[in-house]
């Protein structure tokens, strides 16, 4: 133990004449104290609950957390001082909150992994449900992957240019009423429930193509309606982060405004822009309701054509399988859920790689 470490028995700070002049010194708990207290708290809680005949994991966890907070505050007040005790209390609370936040996430991931891995294999990923009756031990999710990828790509193709150009307008050109109105309506659009976006496209398709027309493109448009405001918002924030000095430096070199935007502003913000766009994509890739309405929910065959016929997608596939309710259907739904999560994780990974690749380098 170090010399600054004092146990309660040798006296609290300010105790005795020797303590008076070195006010800068105060006791400190050894570094292993918090984990040791935590382990002790866990053992005590488990023991107490077992003795009462009421042992359960969640009960032990709750009791451990409370015991730990009480014990660490008492130990710290005794060995250190009130400020450090407060610090340890708040640190403990923060860790507990973090654990609480992680709990559902971990539970969700593990459940999906455990249930999904049963059926997720090469066969499942590479065959469709064409000719498979719902309770047959066959069939896969290939047609839904195709649909998800195609619909999301088209949605991205529609919403990235519109969103990005809107953001550029708002940051670089927009002033006065028009810009304010656009900002307002983008905010309103962010709050549109996804089912309403689906209904909007259904109505639009009904008007333009007549009743009963469901296809992938309709799904993509409904996703784009949801995605555009998110892209505008995130891109706007990123473009505003580009320092004005860089724009001025470019103007001062006799570079026109549009070239300044294309060659200075966008490259400087590219890392943030791609991250924002990827997040928007990840947000819409799991949408179910608008796709049920617009792209249909009964396609079983592989359909690459966005403009002809129903198109299955992963979220809708999960929904449809769960609706059928058989054991095999549930297995398919879990496996499809796992596939969707993996696709989203790949998207995030790509976003991180892209932003690292493009981020301005300091090169020190």
């Amino acid at each position: 133990m170090t010399t600054t470490t004092r146990t309660p028995s040798t006296g609290a700070p300010g105790d005795g004449p020797a303590q008076r002049q070195p006010r800068l010194l105060s006791g400190s708990l050894p570094r292993f104290a918090p984990p040791a207290v935590l382990v002790a708290a866990a053992l005590v809680s488990a023991g107490v609950l077992a003795a009462l005949g009421a042992f359960s994991w969640p009960g032990t966890a709750v009791l451990t957390a409370l015991l730990y907070l009480v014990a660490i505050v008492i130990a710290s007040t005794a060995a250190e001082n009130a400020r450090k005790a407060k610090d340890r209390l708040v640190t403990g609370v923060v860790y507990i909150c973090f654990a609480l936040a992680m709990l559902p996430l971990l539970s969700l991931l593990s459940t999906v992994l455990i249930n999904g891995l049963e059926r997720l294999d090469g066969y499942f990923l590479t065959v469709s449900m064409n000719g498979v009756t719902p309770s047959m031990d066959a069939g896969g999710v290939y047609h839904a992957i195709v649909g998800t990828v195609a619909i999301t790509l088209l949605a991205a193709l529609i919403s990235i240019p519109i969103g990005l150009f809107t953001a550029i307008y708002l940051v670089e050109y927009g002033k006065g009423r028009l810009a304010k109105a656009i900002t307002f309506f983008v905010d309103v659009m962010t709050g549109i429930p996804s089912i309403v976006a689906g209904l909007f496209v259904v109505a639009l398709w009904m008007m333009v193509f007549g009743p009963g027309e469901t296809n992938g493109a309709a799904g993509a448009v409904s996703l784009a309606v949801l995605m555009i405001p998110v892209v505008v918002r995130s891109s706007e924030e990123m473009l505003r982060l580009v320092p004005n000095e860089l724009r001025e430096a470019s103007y001062a070199l006799g570079v026109p405004k549009w070239l300044t935007i294309v060659k200075v502003v966008l490259p400087t913000a590219i890392a943030g822009l791609t991250t924002g766009i990827m997040l928007a994509l990840a947000r819409v890739i799991g949408e179910t309701a608008p796709l049920v309405l617009t792209a249909g929910s009964s396609a079983v065959a592989i359909n690459w054509n966005l403009f002809d016929g129903q198109m299955m997608s992963l979220p809708v596939f999960i929904y449809a399988q769960v609706r059928m309710g058989g054991a095999i259907n549930m297995e398919r739904a879990w496996a499809a859920a796992l596939t969707l999560i993996v696709i989203v994780m790949l998207l995030f990974l790509a976003a991180r790689l892209i932003s690292r690749f493009f981020a301005p380098k300091l090169g020190r």
Binding site: K175, P243, E245, L246, R247, E248, A249, S250, Y251, A252, L253, G254, V255, P256, L259, T260, K263, V264, P267, T268, P360, K361, L362, G363, R364
Partner: protein, 259 residues
């Protein structure tokens, strides 16, 4: 190459607010002109009107005339982009482009304008500009490293190299040394002396010793009070301004008895 600037009856407004009132002056070619004055008296604002950079600020406008040799830069058919190619600018805070290497920063003027340069031409411009900015020896082995990785003083000299690489006729400097240590400041002052042979240089500075050291002409700006527009009080040979200025206000300012 260097050109004369003739300003007559220039008023600068931000929206309805008159920021600088009725400035007339002549800036001689191949000389250094310093603008001094307290903060907020409009010297930077006035400097930015000399290459129409103030127009970047929404609502800013001017009345009056600024002649570059025999061309009115506020004439009806004048393109501000062309004006800025002619009149370069160095800012208070060094602002190299963070996405570009040292090399690309220097030829940014050509690159951003989509001008095609052969490798040899580009190399030539980079070396000449960096030598001109007294930076070549320090960075010649790491031209492909990012410009943002240099020290503050080096970054500022990189910005000067970038501004001179497009071969302007006039170079405006807005407090180029205010964030630099004395040694970097000295390096930049030496550079200003050297650049004077080819350029018309206008420098805004808060440092009166610096104005006395580098400039041939000095202009003193002041404002009558808060909310009032800034004015050109006096402009003369630097020697004269610092030894026997004509106006009492100028004397008060340079002797530190500023009211």
């Amino acid at each position: 190459m260097a050109k004369r600037i003739d300003v007559s009856g220039l008023h600068v407004y931000y929206g309805d607010f008159l920021a600088v009132e009725d400035v007339s002056m002549t800036i001689e070619p191949r000389s250094v002109t310093a603008f001094i004055g307290s903060s907020g008296c409009g010297k930077s604002t006035f400097l930015r009107t000399l290459n129409r950079m103030h127009e970047v600020t929404p609502g800013a406008r001017v009345e009056g005339k600024v002649m570059l040799d025999d061309m009115d830069i506020y004439g009806p058919d004048v393109d501000p982009v062309q004006v800025r190619r002619e009149i370069g600018m160095v800012f208070q805070k060094a602002n190299p482009f963070p996405t570009m290497s040292i090399y690309d920063n220097v030829i940014a003027g050509a690159k951003l304008n989509n001008k095609r340069l052969s490798k040899a031409q580009a190399d030539e411009i980079v070396e000449r500009s960096l030598r001109g900015a007294n930076l070549w020896e320090e960075v010649k082995d790491r031209l492909n490293k990012p410009g943002a990785g240099l020290s503050g003083g080096q970054q500022q000299r990189l910005c000067i190299a970038r501004a001179t690489a497009v071969e302007p006729t006039v170079l405006l400097m807005d407090e180029p040394c205010s964030a630099l240590d004395p040694i970097s400041t000295l390096a930049i002052e030496d550079l200003i002396h050297k650049l004077k042979e080819n350029y018309t240089i206008v420098i805004v500075t808060h440092n009166m010793q610096q104005a006395a050291r580098v400039s041939d002409q000095t202009a003193f700006f002041n404002l009558a009070g808060t909310g009032k527009p800034g004015k050109l009080i006096e402009m003369d040979e630097t020697n004269k301004i610092f030894t026997k200025p004509e106006k009492q206000e100028t004397e008060n300012y340079i002797t530190g008895r500023f009211g």
